[in-house]
Amino acid sequence: MALPGVAWLFNTTVNDGEHNLAGSQGSGANSSYWRIFDTAEDKFIFTSDEQNNGDSTTGTIYPVPIPESGSLEAPKTFVWDTSTSTLRQVPLAGTTNGLQNGGDNQYVFCLYFSGPTESIPYLEAWDNLNHATADCAFLNHGGVSLLSAIATTNDPPGSGVWPGAALRGAYSRILLDTAVVPGAGKALYFNMRLSIPSTFTAQTYTAARLFTRFLYS
């Protein structure tokens, strides 16, 4: 069993449809909904409601406002597509507390494994490529991560305002399925959201890194 390949994908439509993958690029039903995340250049970005699909990455970027009280879910979620210099919206991301089409959606973000694993893959978030610390402003706000995710490989969350689990290094992470990835490979799905509390301090630039961890032999 060799190291399986992993492709990260995101759904750019409001159609909650499974990526019927045939290989990591996908060519089956619904594949037009999905795009491959360019791991060399792209990144996720959370913005306010003013940001729109197709906006240029060189134009105005509207940050998530810090609320006066309580917490605010990031209204919109995008992928910063470097190759086209545009922001591609992921409209099904997040919960109904956002200002797009988030909610009880199943097929939003995808990790496609091309071969088998010997453990269920985890989804984790870290500060950097060392995968040793998770203490940036978003992952450690008074010991609490502001980034939450929920595995949806087998079912939608079951609620439009799903709580999910905070992502913070190996302290808090999610299993993406209920069984190991089989020999033929498999697409695993999740949704995620960022919530900003009133106690948050504005950041000029802080990034967290998503990571999947698994066993093979």
């Binding site: 060799a2 190291l3 992993v6 990260w8 791991t39 269920i120 490529l129 190991v180 032999s217």
Partner: protein, 157 residues
């Protein structure tokens, strides 16, 4: 050719198989016969843990054995990365597994930690695959040893 990072599997009747360097990401454990295993062992490069001498991980006498590579893919790196090796042995007649994890640090050295876990719940409370049958006996043990056979860590029980 490096002597290190090769998994050695000793079967009953003194047959032994040695894998390629497991760090090359190819098939390792899953390509070997799954029964009658007496011991598994891997020779490790000199490290601070072993006083600058060659070391080896050794498991012997367990009811079941397992060896796995912990790997990960970063969203913004685009390449798989080996994070650690796991050696596992199921204690004879008990629902417990003894596990040693060998991790790499950023200086090229390695660290180990040991975990006694409920059998079938080795990965965040979920099961791992790939167990192979051993030849259990009472004097089962595992540990990190240095060249010349000095035990560096006490057996994990």
């Amino acid at each position: 050719m490096s002597l290190f990072w090769k998994l050695q599997i000793e079967y009953e009747k003194n047959k032994t198989h040695v894998t390629e360097d497991v760090t090359n990401k190819s098939r390792v454990w899953s390509s070997f016969r799954g029964r009658d295993i007496k011991s598994i062992q891997m020779i490790l490069p000199p490290s601070q843990l072993t006083g600058g001498r060659k070391g080896f991980i050794h498991f012997q006498g367990y009811e079941l054995y397992n060896f796995q590579i912990e790997a990960g893919w970063d969203l913004q790196a685009g390449l798989g990365k080996i994070m650690a090796f796991w050696f596992r042995g199921k204690v004879p007649c008990k629902p417990v597994s003894e596990n040693i994890r060998v991790m790499f640090d950023k200086n090229g050295d390695f660290l180990i930690d040991k975990h006694n876990l409920e059998f079938g719940k080795e990965w965040g409370g979920t099961a791992v695959e790939g167990w192979k049958e051993g030849v259990p006996f009472n004097k089962f043990f595992c540990g990190l040893f240095a060249e010349k056979g000095d035990r560096i860590h006490e057996p994990c029980r």
